[in-house]
Symmetry: none
Subunit: 205 residues, 4 copies
């Protein structure tokens, strides 16, 4: 009924987060009970409330932390790169690598937005849109200077994001493909599409 010998708040909180990410990614937020979560961590259900004020808040924290990390790392990775094509290649490599290494967090952040309260939803969507905008801006720049085909930057941004992010649904580290190969394949698709180049030229008009 009291403090477990050797217990440590920081470690417990981290264990809760890790277990939550695993369980929610596997079963979905609504299907994970605090009982399940607590059992996985090895504590009592009520003890979760020392660290998170509610189940919903726990989800929010997971999402916000992930999205802020994503934004920060992208900022760092893209800093100083001005050329739109270079920026796009960097984006593809960054996005694929980050998403391959954090599949569960990414999956949760994409799937569980509906599980948030309206207010929390706004917070998360704002973060997501800031990331999207970064890609859209880059595409606009590239179109303006004639490096990219003229198109709809908004649609292209959505399309590229959906395509790349889709890897979380099937990619498994240590499987048939390495991350580097994945990056190369996606880069080809994003930049040149599926057509053979000669064909591409013929298509062009």
């Amino acid at each position: 009924m009291a403090r477990t010998s050797g217990s440590d708040g920081r470690r417990t909180e981290e264990a809760i987060r890790a277990a939550a990410i695993d369980l929610i990614a596997e079963h979905g937020f609504a299907a994970v009970t605090l009982r399940d979560l607590a059992k996985e961590v090895g504590i009592q259900p009520g003890s979760v409330y020392r660290y998170f004020p509610s189940k919903n808040d726990l989800l929010l924290r997971l999402m916000v932390d992930h999205l802020q990390e994503l934004l920060a790392q992208w900022q760092a990775a893209s800093e100083g790169i001005a050329d739109p094509l270079e920026r796009l290649k960097t984006f593809i490599a960054f996005h694929v690598n980050y998403h391959a290494s954090r599949q569960k967090e990414v999956f949760i952040s994409n799937m569980e937005i509906r599980s948030l309260t309206k207010e929390h939803r706004r917070t998360v969507i704002a973060l997501r849109e800031s990331y999207e905008k970064s890609l859209r801006d880059l595409l606009e720049d590239g179109m303006r200077i004639g490096r990219f085909r003229t198109g709809d930057p908004q649609v292209s941004a959505y399309a590229i994001l959906a395509m790349l992010t889709g890897l979380t649904a099937w990619f498994r580290e240590g499987g048939r493909l390495s991350r580097a190969e994945l990056v190369r394949l996606y880069e080809g698709l994003v930049l040149e599409g599926v057509l053979d180049n000669a064909e591409g030229l013929r298509q062009a008009h």
Copy 2:
């Protein structure tokens, strides 16, 4: 109490399906209660069981019906088209149109797979994979005859599907873009990518 005067089984079942699609697409399967559903239809919760043996079965029916319809319509639309490029263009147009017109069903079928029991899950995934395979085969054909750039047909299929299906997350009928414009934009992206053609050639080696 007995039969409500003027009630009609077929109409009631259709009303349940329609209400279920609306509610699940909006709130997610787990968040929709049979009470919500019954209220929307104007019946008592228990009455749903005349038409569906359980809440889970209702979800399964929604998904299976949608996927079977998708497969049947794609079969019909692609029949007799042998050329891979033509087939791909047809696929893009078909997929975009179908998904734009049935956004809710599509959304549910993609998001709620985890809500199914293991057995039901297998059924739905098999249907989905049969559709995916159709695209993968087409891409393989195109690569074999040199019409498409050599790549990984599996990854390309996943990528194209994710890209196109992503429209359900943002596209709204009657908005800035028509379906026809959407098809044109996606076709450009899938076939040629984002690069300007001259650039594309230079990139080629």
Copy 3:
């Protein structure tokens, strides 16, 4: 798992109310759990929610119904009585009889106001004040026409109400005193106080 044979909604609701009045009067609202209540009625805890949207709402209903009945009966009992002294005697008799016969409801309505939400509290207090005002008005009338000693009608009203209502804390039907004796005793105290009359005269100046 289904409807109990021979069950009837109206009877069940009445049983819940009766059990709630008994239990809350005995242990206090906060100390009565829905488990206790349900067990007393012979149903499952969740079944209470068919009849009352929440534990708090149940309390509100009990209080409001009692207070509305109190007001209605007092209206009926006092109708057509104009003379303040007659009205006061009628009030004493009515209040004592009503409170002796409905001790538990009265006790709850007086003790559990703090258990209500702010909004519910307002509703109940408004009803209570309407009853109080009825007594205050009568006292004012009596003072104006010189039938009652000049005093503070508000304080007198509070004092008389507290005095009479206090009976719920100790009076037991069938005990040493009958209701009629109780009325007579309280009437004496309210009208003449404790002093002997001769003494009363001497006190008067």
Copy 4:
């Protein structure tokens, strides 16, 4: 972590009592959590246990201390007064003043008896009855010597106590009435009732 610098046991205990009186008077014993209490004091919930063995014991201490003080002060105030009328007047003045100055303690002692364990309840009720008996005895004396109207001393005692104690429900220091005025008004009601004296005489038979 060890002792907070500058902490002082006696001061902390006093702070806990004061906070408990405020919170319990406002929200009721059951509705006040040790967390609320600790927060109000500025300590951790567990720290309360240095001073009180349990939440229930804290309530008991509050009540017993208040009742013992009440008894002691009444003993002191009434000492040497033999005449029943004088004693009664003294009682009214004492009771009103004490209750006006300690409204919260009084309110708690009256309202929270049900929150005590059976054993604790007995302790508190014994103290209360000793106070009540003091009033009953005085009334009996007055009746015996013909100073007070013949009546039921027990009922009169309950009635007077309920009437006077009722002030805690509405009286606010600094409001329309001073304590002295309150005493005067209550004295009038207790001694002479509401009737005008002439009227009183006529009523007498």
